[in-house]
Symmetry: C2
């Protein structure tokens, strides 16, 4: 039977490009894209993508060239997810909230041949290009050889006339050939996308996705979320975020409608949900706050349920209890840039509907079970490389294996070989497996606070803080302690009280609240009040900034602590060290989880 | 980026075996299999499959060996879908309604090393083995070298003690190792299953499926049918039928429950649906008749809707209008053994719910759109190899392309190379594409009746006959005609009238009814009444038998027909010949559609 050879009829490389090709045939007249007054059908989207791809070829783009884009969730950004790989090239979407220096670093590292810039980001791009140019001249590199061609994307619905260079996106569409035949995919493991991690602790790393990985991940996420046919998908999650968790390709697979959105304001989200009868959206939990805190005139009644896939952080129970009654049905997913977006989905079980709300929220906050196309997920004690027991208690590092894991880090063989160890991709996240097979993350390995040999999960501590009625935001990091080594330090932002003030709650109040709700050793030794916690482009709290700040704090050692320490020293620390392999903190410093984006 | 090599962490061969591995981890305590009083969980099913696989290895089964099985939808049949490939072997499920001679032919051709036989089919298997033995002695072949080891499968729920040889299935389970590690899949294109077409016109052909094809097809069908998590799946479709249209693997992917069924009687189906709250089932439309004609004591109230995927023939509108109000929600699929089961699904569109019942039934009877993992479907005029216009009128041959198409025919390079032409798999089915992209089959190429140069679709003619209130079954085939070449001949089985008789309706009545409802040239020249039409193992009408019968009929030529013929001869036939490439009838005689099984 091995003698039966592959042929064109029975072996077709797996690529998300087939989803668009199919959509153009079987969903031709259905609406593919809505952006304010602009609408396209799948036939039109297919033609526009072919036109753009052919224009890219005529601009000398060849196989494996990188095409970068700095844009919000506008139609052009969506189309490039198909058009760029149709031209044989690799799509590099850049986080719009990065600074010019980081963008310049990405353009340089990726060797981008073309740089598309939305009109809104022209000033940022100009600054990035200036920095890139400076580097070029310093390094005496011929600017012609590697300086990208810049093409501006004007607003398709309300053109502004803003330009950066001579070319504009719609010109390329206009000049292109609607019957262009996409470049043949020779190997399904060829690259399709290059996504840079945000680089909280080092230079950004370029994560390379293959056609095969993107294809399989897309199928898994439609399946895992049970997204049926004809979805109306609101682009509340940036497409530059793991290619919109693969739903850029997934909506084509399902013949859905992409409701594009320039700004994720409460007003724009509610307006589009109501106007277009949105059925699905993805977002970080922070977006729930935006929706909940909308002013009355910004809100709209949700008439039929909106399925929301959330990730980046477990959705706090308090948020779930407020957001779900409004008509948002939340599913929790967990993933990493390196896993082509979500790798676990907290698949809901019918029997859980009978449980009290609070228990449901706890179950929903777990990261869940592997998506279908991931071959395997495990939690490993990396010192012994054995699986931890499925007791919901023993913690270890979460490792993944499957064809939707990245090809590797672009031009970084060291980081690549560090990430792939013993046949697994090591996430750098620490968690447990519950007896029912559901996985729960306890922390990023580097967020675990090791205090006198005890492991303190900052996530656990934060979840207690979030339950305090006056706390709006909370983050806990390690601060140095002369005896314990590390001790928890909490940063909190308060909600305003009835008088519109926040100064009535003191450090002692928070510490006292924690003492009532936590084991003594977990209570923060210091509470720092901030008007707002520092956040990344996607609204994730930037712990590394807080960690830097916490390094400057000092804690005096009390005699009682001295006493406890000497007890500890008598032998517990060894035992604890086998529970969390501390060294993964160093080796996986740069692995970027969704929860870091 | 091409320099990033594949590794075990990011390249895992695609195989349905991962679905069971995952189910055992994340759905461990959920019920996997129910068969009368017997129940297993996914953890148990996984252990049983590992045990069986290790026993197969200890019986000297090695990579690519064929393991055959003759059994109804009992738990053993289900388990073998995982256990046999876990041992590195290829599963060959044999249609239980074949005769001993054909079964002997299959055992000989497949070189089966082991032959599992359900106790109920011991007499049939014994006869097949006797024929195989006779051949062996005639051919002077050493019987030891290729005569299969026979293992009986006793009823797990009510053991009978019936044996054929010394071994019984549960012994193998008992002796096996629950921690057996499945054989490594070296190449995802390695074979997983061997399914013989029924060979209506020639020796049976062995269709080889790959792990990759089975995996992708499984994902597509869950997606296309929108089968959510925790389905309760009734095994009304034989598993020997394209591995149960891949749902053998699909229920594991979804963590569903397999409700096994020895006999598809109305009583057993209703009883299991009601008892286990069945949510999904597959069947040929003939099963609707069984369900509809159940006696009152056999029926049960369907309390929540049962999703039914049907294929093999378009479900007649009259049946749909009766079966859907009972709680069966029907989706129509089309496929072939060579396409790993269904290749098109008639995906329902929300807007169609507004249409009158009759229009809905017509839309539902169309074969639909390609499943997601099929790279492409087209309708080609094979004389020109161009796509036909999407006008719902122009007919051509349906061709498929994608990784879920078979590897080829086992030990039949000629048939394999005939099936794969110009990068497509040619189905031998003739159809049209509607403007909305939905495909509709007009006929098997060999079922098209070419009468005086006009193409008559037997399917169209049959659908008119089925609308007659007294007709229970109808089939139309070509009969020879001295002037026209071919002319339609109808075979019908009548429902009983109020007096319990069928002899009150005459040939002239049917012909007169057809004249009112069909173009004159399509009206059957002969109507033959039968008490029941001959059917295949899966309830499909065996047209080849009727065709043989019709060859013996004679039609006298009338003068008016002479007149018409001379009109025709004046030049219309050339035009018609370009509409259906007649030669595909010969070259694709053996391509076996689901509609032939």
């Amino acid at each position: 039977m091995d003698l039966l050879p592959k042929c064109d009829a029975n072996y077709v490389p797996l690529t998300p490009l087939t989803f668009l090709n199919r959509a153009a045939q079987v969903y031709a007249s259905r609406t593919s894209v809505i952006y304010e007054g602009t609408r396209f059908t799948w036939r039109q989207t297919d033609h526009r993508c072919r036109r753009l791809a052919s224009s890219l070829r005529s601009l000398n783009i060849v196989k494996n060239d990188v095409v970068s884009v700095l844009a919000p969730n506008v139609p052009a950004m969506y189309e490039m997810h198909f058009a760029v790989p149709m031209a044989g090239a690799v799509l590099n979407t850049i986080n719009t909230r990065l600074d010019a220096k980081t963008i310049a670093t990405i353009l340089r590292h990726s060797e981008a041949k073309i740089f598309f810039v939305d009109y809104q980001f022209v000033p940022l791009a100009r600054e990035a290009l200036r920095l890139l140019m400076d580097d070029h001249s310093q390094e005496c590199v011929s600017s012609e050889s590697s300086f990208p061609l810049v093409i501006v994307i004007d607003d398709i619905d309300s053109p502004t006339g803003v330009r950066l260079g001579e070319l504009e996106y719609e010109q390329l569409i206009h000049k292109g050939n609607p019957n262009y035949v996409p470049e043949h995919i020779e190997d399904e493991c060829d690259p399709i996308a290059l996504n840079y991690t945000s680089g909280t602790t080092s230079e950004p790393k370029g994560v390379v996705y293959s056609h095969r990985g993107a294809y399989l991940s897309t199928l898994s996420l439609i399946l895992g979320w049970e997204m049926g046919s004809e979805p109306v998908y609101l682009w509340s999650l940036p497409m530059f975020h793991c290619n919109g968790w693969t739903f850029t390709w997934g909506t084509a697979a399902r013949g859905g409608t992409n409701v594009c959105l320039r700004n994720t304001t409460a007003y724009d989200m509610y307006r589009n949900i109501s106007l277009h009868k949105v059925t699905h959206m993805c977002c970080a939990p922070i977006v729930f706050n935006i929706l909940l805190e909308a002013k009355p005139h910004e809100k709209r009644q949700i008439t039929s349920p909106v399925q929301v896939l959330t990730g980046g952080a477990p959705p706090p129970a308090s948020l779930l209890q407020k957001i779900e009654p409004l008509g948002f049905h939340v599913t929790h997913a967990y993933g990493l840039t390196e896993a082509t977006g979500p790798a676990l989905v907290c698949e809901w079980q019918a029997k859980w509907n009978q449980l009290p709300q609070e228990d449901q929220a706890k179950l929903k906050a777990r990261q869940g079970i592997s998506i279908l196309t991931l071959a395997d997920v495990d939690v490993k004690d990396l010192t012994t490389m054995t699986s931890v027991p499925r007791d919901g208690k023993t913690i270890g590092e979460i490792v993944l294996r499957g064809s939707s894991i990245m090809k590797g880090y672009f031009k970084d063989p060291n980081a690549t070989s560090k990430a792939f160890k013993n046949g697994w991709f090591a996430t750098g996240d620490v968690g447990v497996i519950h007896p029912d097979g559901y996985l729960e993350i306890k922390d990023r390995s580097k967020d675990v606070i090791i205090s006198g040999g005890e492991n303190i999960s900052s996530v656990e501590l934060e979840s207690v803080l979030y339950r305090h009625p006056r706390i709006l935001e909370a983050a806990v990091v390690a601060m140095p302690h002369p005896l314990w080594g590390e001790t928890p330090c909490a940063f909190v932002a308060l909600k305003k009280n009835a008088n519109g003030k926040t100064d009535d709650l003191k450090e002692a109040d928070i510490i006292s609240y924690c003492r009532k709700n936590l084991p003594h050793f977990m209570v923060p030794k210091k509470v720092e009040f901030l008007p707002e916690l520092p956040k990344t482009a996607t609204g994730k709290i930037q712990k590394f900034q807080l960690r830097t700040l916490a390094q400057t704090f000092e804690v005096s050692k009390s005699s009682s602590e001295n006493q406890k320490l000497s007890n500890k020293k008598s032998g517990q620390s060894d035992q604890v060290n086998t529970k969390i392999p501390r060294y993964i903190t160093e080796t996986h410093e740069n692995v970027l989880a969704l929860s870091r984006l």
